[in-house]
Amino acid sequence: MSQALPRAATPSFSQRLLRVYDSVGFLPVVLVALVVVLALFVPRFLSLQNVLNVLRSSSYLVIISAGQMMVLIVGGFDLSVGAVVPLASVVSALTMVWANGVAPGQTAVVVLLGVLAGLLSGLAVGLVNGLSVAFLRVSPFIVTLGSMSIATGVALLLTNGIPVYGMPKAYVDGFGRGLWLRLPPAVYLAALIVALVWFMQNFTKMGRYLYAIGGNFHAATVSGVRTKTYLVLAYAACSLLAAVSGLGLTAQIGSGQAVISAQLTLESIAAAVIAGVSLKGGVGRVEMVTLAAFFLLILTNAMDLLRVDPRIQTIFLGLIVVFAVALEEIARRRTSVD
């Protein structure tokens, strides 16, 4: 104690650096190192085409992971996000095809209806998850496992597994595959969502309450936080964001698909966990989750460019997730006093 005091008074440069490192963790360092190495050694990594590609695919994962993070912060889990994406995809595509039949040519109305329907389908799943967890007080693992099964079944039932074509051209070419100010629209969407979640986490009551609920549910309840309402909100927001991501993917693919992105659930949890979001709840920041999502997708992209067999890539990703968490655990043990 007596030694720590004078040291704190006049921090040297290296100590200040260490303190910055302590507050942001090792993720940004690893990310920068990864990008530098790739830029130096992988020729096509910095080509415009590739950068846009990485940005676009990262945006979808960033959006979903931000939602997953909120649920993890309140001490839950959402295994159903990977099923909400295809559900929203199918529902929005079917609605657009139907609306196009009723009011041909009214592109704006058609797209609006489709987007609304897709978002509502996501919201419905989120409400089922949230209400079950908050009011029936059942394990989020099982509830979202169940709703995953249900959502997948509904998406397949609606389409018989056949892709839904016939969405307005403006939606596919303008939003899904187009560029706004040289960037894919999904990037702006992801940036907007990250900014909103960041604001929510840092400057609103809801943000603080979510941390409080995850940190100590009982204490939060006793202090008068309407825990149930906020639990429902977290799950609803998570599914809604998954639906947003599903809409973006649908526009990019150009058809409603009942079987897309089965890996998204695992990837979103992996991104959150690498970003230091605690599975016990109460800890997690959206800016770190964004970095982690980028990290995962840049790594995947690099392996693609280096022609690593996708099957081997899966093995790598598995190892990285476990070792990232193991490293953090070891670091935590070294710094903690007990």
Partner: protein, 333 residues
């Protein structure tokens, strides 16, 4: 007087409800079978009943594996992928040896050793990280899930490994050991008895319940929690590997997609049977009922010609309902 009468009346009614909750699963099974019988009488034919028992013995083995770790508040997401890897690896070992003309005993022994060896490796990985580094089982088994997925597709090249020797299938699937009882059912019964003994009459088994119910108490009481936790994951993966070998014997080939839905089904069967995800609650009996129920449900829906997509939706609903009933049961007792 009236108050007392009311109270005892209420207590009695509550007693009845409690009993209903305790027996909700067997009751549900009877109601389900009888109502299916009205539309598809085949459901109670001897052939179908035997078929259901056969099918459920596989799910039983996987749900038992899952139970070992759920008892300690964990779960194993890698189970299905591990089963695929076991299937492919053991099939490759057996077909390779069979080509060189090795005797049957050597071929089967190699298959068993390879399969259980892969299982042991997965168990070492999961158990090591969960127990010694105290990393969340979700993350660890998510990692091993991906690793196993990559391994099984890589070593098999993504396609099934055919020509698993018949002698292996005879030994673990369609041979005759006890006349009138199929081999999968025999194996399931042996595993059930062994696990019952392990969980109820050994220090390791009893400790798993304490570790799950109250990890801190277990540590304070001086139990070697880490070692037991590690052993639980090892047992889980070995059991899963054994189930994988049984399935390989049934299909007669090593299948890289064998374990696709097994992870969900095994967790569903265990939880529906009454193994609590909060740890410390459950046993072999619960898993027997859970495995039977899941198999009966899909069998009934098949007989009623319910489409696969609707089956998926219903399974999700049943899962949520089951966990809710379990919740009610535990808050009341």
């Amino acid at each position: 007087m009236t108050d007392a009468a009311l109270a005892s009346d209420a207590a009695q009614r509550r007693g009845l409800l409690d009993w209903l909750l305790v027996f909700s699963l067997p009751l549900l099974m009877i109601v389900m079978e009888l109502s299916v019988y009205a539309f598809a009488p085949r459901v109670l034919s001897l052939r179908n009943v035997v078929n259901v028992l056969d099918q459920s013995s596989y799910i039983f083995v996987f749900a038992c594996a899952q139970m070992m770790v759920i008892l300690t508040r964990g779960f194993d997401l890698s189970l299905g992928a591990a089963v695929s890897t076991v299937s492919v690896a053991s099939a490759l070992a057996m077909t390779g040896l069979a080509k060189t003309g090795s005797p049957d005993a050597v071929v089967v022994a190699a298959g068993l050793a390879t399969g259980l060896g892969v299982g042991a490796l997965v168990g070492l990985f999961n158990g090591g990280f969960v127990s010694w580094l105290a990393i969340n089982p979700f993350v660890v088994t998510l990692g091993s899930l991906n690793i196993c997925l990559g391994l099984s597709t890589t070593i098999s090249g993504g396609s099934p490994v055919f020509n698993v020797p018949d002698v292996f299938s005879r030994l673990f699937y369609n041979g005759v050991l006890i006349p009138g009882v199929s081999i999968p059912i025999t194996i399931a019964i042996v595993i059930a008895v062994a696990l019952y003994f392990l969980l109820n009459y050994t220090i390791f088994g009893r400790s798993l319940y304490i570790i799950g119910a109250n990890p801190r108490a277990a540590r304070v009481a001086g139990l070697p929690s880490r070692r037991y936790l590690f052993l639980a994951y090892l047992t889980c993966s070995l059991l899963a590997a054994f189930g994988g070998l049984m399935l390989t014997a049934r299909t007669g080939s090593g299948e890289p997609n064998l374990g696709g839905s097994l992870m969900l089904e095994s967790i569903a069967a265990a939880v529906i049977g009454g193994v609590s995800l909060q740890g410390g609650v459950g046993g072999v009996g619960a898993v027997v009922f859970g495995a039977l129920f899941v198999t009966m449900l899909s069998n009934s829906m098949d007989l009623l010609e319910v489409g696969g997509y609707i089956q998926q939706i219903l399974l999700g609903c049943v899962l949520i309902l089951a966990i809710f009933l379990d919740r009610l049961r535990r808050t009341r007792t």
